[in-house]
């Protein structure tokens, strides 16, 4: 009798425990701790910060910074990083949890439309006042929903040593690197390098324009920014529900250049990865490499010195080329979760402010992460591409703004990317790119905003 009671009790206990374990973590997001728009009140000391980081390459640096913050203030900062290309799905999953991220990021107006209901108004926050220009805030309906925390630059990175070698050679018709200031010059240089690639000891002028998902954003998003930028500029607008595609011929010209004067056959581009292009560039197999300031740590770790590196604006033969600068902007806006508790929101705001004002924070952002931050206390960056951008801007060149944040949807980008791949391989024609670009924009815009 006793034994069986014990057995029964044990069985119950085991069953109970297992059920309890099964239940843990499945709890519905309770509404008790979800208060909207409570950024005013709240005690930062009682709150905690959960930052869902977008940039995998900076994960270690963020973890270290979070630890330092805890040592200094005692406030817990959790940093999690979404795997590359999965930020949106990770954010969706995390936002559903009880302990949702208190600090997350959106990529601009289109990203904001997705998460607006979750973004607290930051107009009265300290960090907003720290911005060097209010242009770096993501504003809508008179409210500040996001704050850009890093400014980045992209263009055509070049191997200075190799390009100089070209300029010094007898077949070069452009004798000085500074003379490359238009699409036509760029094309001349690239064509001549391609023609004499054996003499220069390279495989091609441009690194492979890989269309694998690890690399296709360089063309479907970043390169596509240029025709959009010039069209917006002509019309004096900052976003549109229907793009005209006025500069698509220029887009074709630069894309043709990338795939013709390249290290590989255009048909192979479909499966070329981002690392392929990186390796080609750092091992001196190609002279030009379209990428951005975030690539600095990768190329220097591969052994390239600052003196080997330069960056040219992406000339597509449109606008005032003599005064065109690099493409500079941000697609990284910090947002504070408005559904987090008041304490957590306060703690998060304090952490953000600390990152961009304190000695430790600004140093970590500048040195460990290589970020250029648009805040008053920012440390000068060591990043050579950023320096080039500053020099060009100081010399009166107009930076090309980042308009790809207004692209209507991921589907649109993927459609353009697919069409570009097939055009490069010769299995598709340029009309498909045009259709995906122009008609696709209209359809996708309607879908996303309908």
């Amino acid at each position: 009798m006793k034994k069986s009671t014990f057995k029964r009790a044990a069985a119950l206990a085991v069953a109970g425990m297992m059920t309890a374990t099964a239940l843990v973590g499945c709890g519905e997001a309770s509404s008790s701790n979800a208060k909207d728009d409570s950024s005013a009140a709240g005690n930062a000391k009682n709150g905690k910060v959960y930052y869902l980081n977008f940039k995998p390459e900076q994960d270690k640096a963020w973890q270290a910074l979070a630890k330092k913050y805890k040592d200094e203030t005692g406030v817990e900062v959790t940093v999690k990083t979404a795997a590359e290309g999965t930020y949106e799905s990770t954010l969706t999953a995390e936002m559903d949890k009880d302990n949702a991220p208190t600090l997350f990021q959106v990529n601009g107006p289109v990203g904001l439309a997705n998460w607006k209901d979750y973004c607290a108004d930051l107009s009265s926050s300290d960090i907003y006042k720290q911005l060097t220009s209010k242009d770096y805030a993501l504003e809508e309906d008179g409210k500040v929903y996001g704050i850009a925390y890093v400014i980045e630059t992209y263009g055509i990175i070049y191997n200075k040593t190799l390009l100089q070698k070209y300029c010094d050679s007898d077949f070069a018709s452009v004798k000085k690197i500074e003379d490359i200031n238009s699409f036509d010059k760029l094309k001349t240089v690239a064509d001549e390098i391609q023609k004499n690639k054996d003499k220069l000891g390279v495989k091609g002028a441009f690194t492979s324009a890989g269309m694998d998902s690890s690399s296709d954003w360089r063309f479907k998003t970043h390169l596509a920014n240029l025709p959009i930028y010039f069209e917006y500029k002509d019309k004096g607008i900052t976003s549109t529900d229907a793009i005209e595609g006025k500069y698509l011929d220029n887009y074709k010209k630069i894309w043709d250049l990338y795939i013709t004067d390249s290290t590989c056959d255009p048909a192979d581009l479909a499966s070329k990865k981002g690392t392929d292009a990186e390796t080609e560039f750092t091992s001196g197999e190609a002279v030009f490499f379209q990428n951005g300031s975030w690539e600095y740590s990768t190329v220097t770790e591969a052994g390239m010195k600052d003196d080997d590196l330069g960056m040219l604006p992406i000339y597509i033969g449109a606008g005032d080329e003599a005064n065109q600068g690099l493409c500079t902007g941000s697609e990284n806006y910090w947002c504070v979760n408005s559904k987090a508790s008041a304490d957590d929101q306060a703690a998060t705001l304090e952490f953000m402010n600390w990152c961009v004002t304190s000695e430790t924070g600004t140093k970590a952002l500048a040195d460990d992460m290589g970020f250029v931050i648009p805040f008053k206390d920012a440390k000068a960056a060591t990043n050579v591409f950023v320096k080039i951008d500053n020099e060009l801007t100081a010399a009166g060149k107009t930076p090309v703004s980042w308009n790809f944040t207004t692209m209507p949807s991921e589907d649109w980008k993927n459609g353009v990317g697919t069409a570009l791949t097939q055009y490069a391989a010769g299995t598709g024609d340029w009309d498909a790119v045009k259709t995906a670009f122009v008609q696709g924009w209209k359809t996708e815009y309607a879908k996303a905003n309908g």
Binding site: S4, R8, A11, L12, A15, M18, T19, A22, L23, C26, E28, A29, E88, S89, T92, M95, D96, V110, A113, N114, W115, D117, Y118, M211, S213, D265, A267, D268, A270, S271, P408, S409, E410, D411, N414, G415, T418, A419, T421, Q422, A425, T427, G428, A432, T435, A436, F437, V438, Q439, G440, W441, K442, T443, E444, K447, A448, N449, G450
Partner: protein, 292 residues
């Protein structure tokens, strides 16, 4: 006297953890998912009911309709091929060849590798070959289709083979002897003795291959990712030629800010289709099963 009711209590107690896990991990998300397919939402906790709008959009989604027909074609070809291969490999390995245990292991091992890894490995293999012909998996839907078929056959045939081997071994020898005495040839033995006795294995294997092929996601994502795409002249949207239903649903879900509910509705439609097809298949193959 006391035993029986007590046992019942124990059953209940021991089934409780699994039942709870099933309710929480399956039944609740399932019904919540159906509800969400009628909603506009960002996260599952902020859903707003909107009615049938998502279903209307799902049926207007060209990509979804295309993925349905692509999936159907894929399922037909892969179910037939996988089962044929598995059946004959199992047959060969029950003939008592030397080293058949080694072969069984070898054929089974691909099944233990994850779909994503498999997809990438085969992508390298196929692209490595196709490179010599100046083309690529991402450029031709036929390559993508047959690539998926080869991958799935390689992965699944081993598993089905194990089930078929068990089936072969369960056919009683006296049945063969009796049939031989009655003058049955090799062919008649196969069609009149082996196959009817194997029907339970065939039911299981067709069911598994059918549902597995229908729900295929990882391998599809890793191997082709849906490429190549065809741009529609009228709308400018791209329809991905080798995108199967599960991948299309996933992509739709994250397509834009309004598309979560549409993806969810597609998921419910997908569920209904898989259930209907699986039940019809079970009904027809079960009818052919014989009692031993």
């Amino acid at each position: 006297m006391f035993r029986k009711p007590k046992r019942k209590i124990y059953f209940l107690i021991f089934v409780l953890p699994t039942l709870a896990a099933f309710l929480i991990g399956f039944v609740y998300p399932f019904f919540n998912g159906i509800y969400l397919s009628f909603c506009k939402f960002r996260t599952t906790s902020d859903a707003v009911f909107i009615g049938f709008g998502n279903y209307v959009k799902a049926f207007q989604n060209e990509g979804f309709l295309h993925s349905f027909w692509f999936t159907v074609l894929f399922v037909i070809v892969s179910v037939v091929l996988i089962n044929l291969i598995a059946f004959f490999v199992a047959y060969a390995l029950t003939l008592g060849i030397r080293g058949s245990n080694v072969f069984r292991t070898v054929f089974f091992v691909p099944n233990l590798v994850g779909g994503i890894i498999l997809g990438y490995i085969w992508q390298y293999i196929f692209n490595g070959i196709l490179q010599y012909y100046g083309t690529n998996l991402a450029l031709n839907a036929n390559f993508g289709f047959w690539g998926l078929i080869i991958l799935m056959c390689w992965q699944q045939a081993g598993y089905m083979m194990i089930i078929y081997i068990a089936g072969f071994q369960s056919v009683p020898h006296d049945l063969y002897e009796a049939a031989k005495i009655d003058g049955a040839g090799k062919r008649q033995l196969l069609t009149n003795v082996t196959l009817p006795m194997m029907m339970p294995s065939i039911t299981i294997c067709t069911f598994l291959t059918l549902t597995n092929s229908f729900k295929l996601f990882d391998q599809n994502l890793a191997l082709t990712g849906g490429a190549p795409g065809v741009v529609s002249q009228a709308t400018g949207t791209t329809v991905y030629q080798t995108e199967m239903m599960a991948l299309n649903i996933y992509n739709t879900f994250y397509a834009n800010q309004n598309s979560r509910g549409v993806g969810q509705a597609e998921g419910v439609i997908f569920f209904v289709i898989v259930v209907i097809i699986a039940l019809v298949q079970l009904y027809f193959t079960r009818r052919k099963e014989v009692q031993q």
